[in-house]
Symmetry: C2
Subunit: 294 residues, 2 copies
Amino acid sequence: MREISLDRLRTLVAVTDRGSFADAAHALHLAPPTVSLHIAELEDRIGAPLLSRKRGHVGPTTIGEVLVERARRLLADAEQALDDIQRQVEGLEGRARLGASTGVIAHLLPQALEVLRAHHPAIDIQIAVLTSQETLSRLVDGTLDVGLVALPQPPVAGLVIKPWRRDPVMAFVPAHWRCPARITPEWLAAQPLILNDATTRLSRLTAEWFATAGHHPAPRIQLNYNDAIRSLVAAGYGAALLPHEATTPLPDSRIVMRPLRPVLWRRLGIAHRAGYVERSTQHVLDVLWDLRLA
Amino acid sequence: MREISLDRLRTLVAVTDRGSFADAAHALHLAPPTVSLHIAELEDRIGAPLLSRKRGHVGPTTIGEVLVERARRLLADAEQALDDIQRQVEGLEGRARLGASTGVIAHLLPQALEVLRAHHPAIDIQIAVLTSQETLSRLVDGTLDVGLVALPQPPVAGLVIKPWRRDPVMAFVPAHWRCPARITPEWLAAQPLILNDATTRLSRLTAEWFATAGHHPAPRIQLNYNDAIRSLVAAGYGAALLPHEATTPLPDSRIVMRPLRPVLWRRLGIAHRAGYVERSTQHVLDVLWDLRLA
DNA sequence: CCTGAACAGTCAGTTTTTCTGAATCTGGAA
DNA sequence: TTCCAGATTCAGAAAAACTGACTGTTCAGG
């Protein structure tokens, strides 16, 4: 059995509202026989007359009245549903699920979220703290819409990964140490080090920086929470290599920050599924993209 | 713009529930291309993909999820509406508006209502106290479904009026009066009388009864509420002519009831619109019809 | 790497539904 | 009565919905 046709119900409602088949036909841009047919089909399906045809005025029967009322609700609900969906499609409302590592979330996202809240207050942003690998695989799954991942990454089928930001990696050194203006691998390799967890891309990056100069220092401490690393530096446990997000000022006078020689960049990419991108997701991508030069 | 098709929505729901176009097609008794088409049409209308097609499993996109949820509600509501209407059509639920005069309502309807409440508890009976003329015109209007009217009535276009009951009109006399076993116009015309209001059919009926015997008595009191007339008889104000509904015992020992000679019948008809009769109305008609012999 | 199975999608043709103009019918009004 | 507005019937046209056959893609298993 087919579902009942909302078009027929709309016709029924129009006829009862206007009290005439002819008027309803005109209002619905239909020929009069079509209106007759619609009503007849409904009456057939229901098994009872819905309209009492009287000279000069057509009115609903008792059952017709009940159906008309239900029909009004159904039609209104259907319209409401489509409207709501349309708003989602236009990205005025909606959801974007974003994955990024702690560092990015702490230092780069707050501005992005502020802009989004201002321009698209009805977009619900869900943030997951993930590694780059997790981020990519959840993008493929469809359980994530936008990812911020370390670069370089091998291409992933079905995903678009674009370079987003390039932040210089800086040396963070306890303020009471004596250190050169530009930090070289040679100098740093001789100091006690606090480095990122080996699973992170940043640790691989710094390892390569040392290796290029022929050094392979063992860190005194390894962990993967950049803010914690900073605290340890402040406490004098050792020096660290961390990306410098220009936007966040140094929070602590017990730390000095020095550029590296050779310069080392931490590169981030922005990833999303290839093909159709939802408007709400696109808005998030746009806002993040604008931030790439900040 | 046509309304959105509930059939398409049902297909969408089926596909997301089963996670496969092919399964959904089978469950809906459709060919696979039809399912593809339904989804494609929906996506066209919405302007965004609703399902993410992946090998082995098809799942809704973010927007798809929202639409599926709305669609479930719409489909359930539509089904509910049709079910409810069906119950009304079958007369299991519904309404019947009934018009009758006070006498009928007081003495004959209570039994009818009891039977209806037992057999069709969900039928809502609305009773209006009306004259026969009002009853008939409201039947024609469609603001009344069943009428109990005095007979005879001229035929009314669009209405069916069938003889229903025939109750003997009796003389009600104060118990302390001396009176013959059978009351004649001659005897009664000489007594103080309490008669029905001139607008009622009963008063015309009794006037004719007197007139046939050559009498035209003036009543001492006229009113149109039979119970009040009875009270006045009990109080000794005079004699009255009232229909005797066999089912109600004489409530008062201060009254005696005597048959008339010649016998006078008060005839009642049952009226409803010609053509289609709603099931709930039909049930009421049936119950009343069964009472005609009581 | 190839092959086959599973399944979504495309296409052309057919069936079904939907719509319409013309004609017909109907119930009051003049 | 005749006329008129408006509902309805009907037959044909237009649109849609559906399907079978085919294509393309992906993935599992050799």
